[in-house]
């Protein structure tokens, strides 16, 4: 493999790990997803559309693996709080907050959850997010609006304790 390809892939790993973690809510599982994704990317490199967007391609692979695994296991335990850095009081607060935020996000359908992460956290353009999710580009804004409305309702309903800590 040429040097350039390796570094192009590697530059995407931190963002892939972040997205995988937000989906899986568990570090080990998230890294398994990323590893599967990268292995697939390496074995399918020649099948990739040359003019396609590398980042969107990788995120789509990872997301498909998550969706397939999710249908397999339906529901897993959530070890976010124990998993995050709890070595300092500040770290504990942060871990709890992150756990709560991801728990709230997890109450959304996977597509809405992915859309919020891709647009809001990963800074995908609306068109790129549509490509990853395999939805018509023209429907992204209305889906995004619905997803944000739903997350807002969840957070404001107090079904997760997060609201108390968010000013």
């Amino acid at each position: 493999m040429d040097e350039d390809l390796g570094s192009r892939l590697e530059r995407q790993i931190p963002a892939l790990r972040r997205y995988a973690f937000a989906l899986a809510r568990n570090s080990a599982e998230a890294d398994d997803l990323v590893q599967d994704c990268l292995e697939r990317a390496l074995s399918r490199w020649s099948l990739r559309r040359a003019d396609g967007d590398l980042r969107a391609w990788l995120f789509a692979i990872l997301r498909n693996q998550f969706v397939n695994a999710y249908h397999r296991n339906k529901r897993r335990g959530t070890q976010v709080a124990a998993d995050a850095d709890a070595s300092s009081p500040a770290g504990q607060d942060r871990a709890l907050e992150l756990g709560d935020a991801l728990a709230a996000l997890d109450l959304l359908p996977e597509e809405q959850k992915s859309l919020l992460l891709l647009v809001g956290v990963e800074d995908f353009s609306y068109a790129e997010a549509a490509e990853v999710l395999g939805i018509p580009a023209g429907t992204v804004m209305s889906r995004l609006s619905r997803a944000r409305k739903r997350l807002r309702e969840i957070l404001e309903s107090g079904r997760v304790p997060l609201l108390r800590r968010v000013k």
């Binding site: 493999m1 790993i13 790990r17 292995e39």
Partner: protein
Amino acid sequence: MKDAPIGEDDLQAFVDARLDDPRRAAVEAYLAEHPDVAERVAAERRQRDMLRDLLQPKFDEPIPAHLRIDTLAAARRERRRGRWQTAAAACVMFVVGAGSGWFAAMETQPTAKPKPMPMAVADEATLAYSTFASEVMHPVEVRADDQAHLMTWLSKRLGHTMSAPDLSGYGFRLMGGRLLPGGSGAAAQLMYDDDHGNRLTLYVETAHGDATAFRFAQDRDMATFVWIDKGMGFAVTAKASRETLLPIAEAVYRQLDTAPPPARGS
């Protein structure tokens, strides 16, 4: 454009800070006159920022060694080279001891064990399925009429004693099989069909690594269950739902698992 009415799309793009200056000013003016909307938009922006902030440390973590591309690419090369070696060794063993030396050879090989890559096996199986399952004239290389000959031939070329699972309980009959290049070693594909013309394949190739559980892969309308067992990668592929395919994959696994093990020692 500046004067077009403010819509939900504008508000979402405002939350994401993706409006150009004139349009942003227009939205801000609108929000100043609609405090209820302004409150909602502010909440959505706060929640967006909160997620970003909370997830940022994950992005900042150093990449674990086992996820580095160098590591993955090296494992991939190692796996390919390993397949050549085992395939070559197996061919020799097959001639010498009719397969009896297969597992012994596996065990004594001092090579490092790269991580198994079941997903790579799934990809190869899917590619083989999409190539040959749609083939009308020559879906198989050797037809099932002479199953004994077919299995002897594939076993010999693969360096692993193969038997064809009986899937008649699921309505699938063996059509035949073919030999394929799998990565860089030989691979075998057995094809089955049912009365409706649905086709299902069992794809087998040598694969390094420890036994794995079933993994599921979906590629367009093709579903695959893949696993690694006794140094071989197995993939069951069909245009079917996961639920339909799972019991068939389990049946294949059971039948391969209960097949008489190759004679060892003597």
